[in-house]
């Protein structure tokens, strides 16, 4: 087997799962990047639907993989890798995954405080916007006038968070029905 000193890397079923979901998120991300946006930073963020679905179906670790792969591969395909757009996207994704992680494990420790797709989605959207805004302020435009945009951005994040949350809820229902509700873990 190993005469040539080559190493065989075996893939787990979870690797395939993550790859499929990430591919879906990346496709949505790329389609969405073709849409014009009224204000820099405001975007529906529909790729978040996938991250929320993965979080609720398979847990936080898989969701982090999908989110980071989405940012990395998405930027490589669009051609924004290591540009300011990429930095903002990465900062937003990191902040939103941190917030989701905290909420996910907190709601697991306190079963009476369960969180569903709507809550996770709104939380992720808000954290994403805050992370992105912090990066923009610290790295790109350190001017106090930038704060005048923050209320608008956060309002947009709330609206899009609610919409993606509803889409994610519908999607999770369908996936659970198809797999007879037994794939979590």
């Amino acid at each position: 087997m190993n005469e040539l000193g080559s190493r065989q890397i075996t893939t787990q079923p979870s690797d395939h799962r993550i790859a499929w979901w990430a591919a879906l998120a990346i496709s949505i991300h790329i389609i969405e990047s073709a849409l014009p946006s009224p204000i820099p930073g405001i975007k529906p963020g529909l790729a978040n639907v996938i991250v929320i679905a993965v979080l609720l179906l398979y847990g936080w670790r898989d969701a982090v993989w999908v989110a980071l792969l989405r940012v990395l591969v998405g930027s490589l395909l669009i051609g924004t890798f290591l540009t300011p757009t990429f930095m903002l996207s990465l900062a937003g994704a990191s902040a939103s995954m941190l917030a989701l992680g905290l909420a996910y494990y907190a709601s697991r420790c306190l079963p009476s405080w369960g969180v569903g797709p709507l809550g996770y989605s709104v939380l992720a959207a808000q954290a994403h916007m805050l992370g992105q805004f912090a990066a923009a302020y610290l790295v790109l435009i350190p001017h106090p006038a930038l704060f005048k945009l923050l209320p608008l951005l956060m309002t947009a994040a709330l609206v899009f968070g609610v919409i993606s949350g509803m889409i994610a809820a519908a999607m999770i229902d369908k996936v659970r029905k198809r797999t007879d509700g037994g794939t979590s873990g």
Binding site: W113, Q126, L150
Partner: protein, 122 residues
């Protein structure tokens, strides 16, 4: 419809509180002053908070000037001068605003808040 759990309500409530707070602090009027400094000539006679309603009597060159502080603003009510320009100037309350009674040498300047001007010359 989407099933909403307790944690969802907590997150939505936090957002519902965060957004108005953001609008209020970032879009609100930040020019309101905090304190008023009262001078007679170049000497400081009083430094009063604009949030504490009170009436002040300041003794100037000609006599007494009466000042009133009410809900974040201050004004001259009466002054021992002839023209009463100071009284007619009315209320001031934004950072950097100044009213004075030149004959009586009494002047009030509002401190704190976002300054509209860098400097004022007379």
């Amino acid at each position: 419809m989407v099933k909403i759990e307790r944690g969802d309500y907590l997150i939505l409530l936090a957002t519902a509180l965060l957004l108005p707070w953001l609008y209020f602090t970032l879009w609100g009027d930040q020019r309101a002053g905090e304190y008023a400094r009262v001078l007679v000539g170049a000497e400081q006679q009083a430094l009063v908070s604009l949030h504490q309603p009170q009436t002040l009597e300041i003794v100037g060159e000609l006599g007494v000037s009466v000042l009133e502080v009410l809900s974040g603003k201050i004004r001259f009510i009466e002054s021992a001068c002839q023209g009463k320009q100071c009284v007619h100037s009315g209320w001031i309350g934004e950072g950097g605003e100044v009213v004075s009674c030149l004959p009586n040498r009494v002047s009030i300047a509002v401190l704190g808040g976002e300054q509209r001007f860098d400097a004022i010359n007379f």
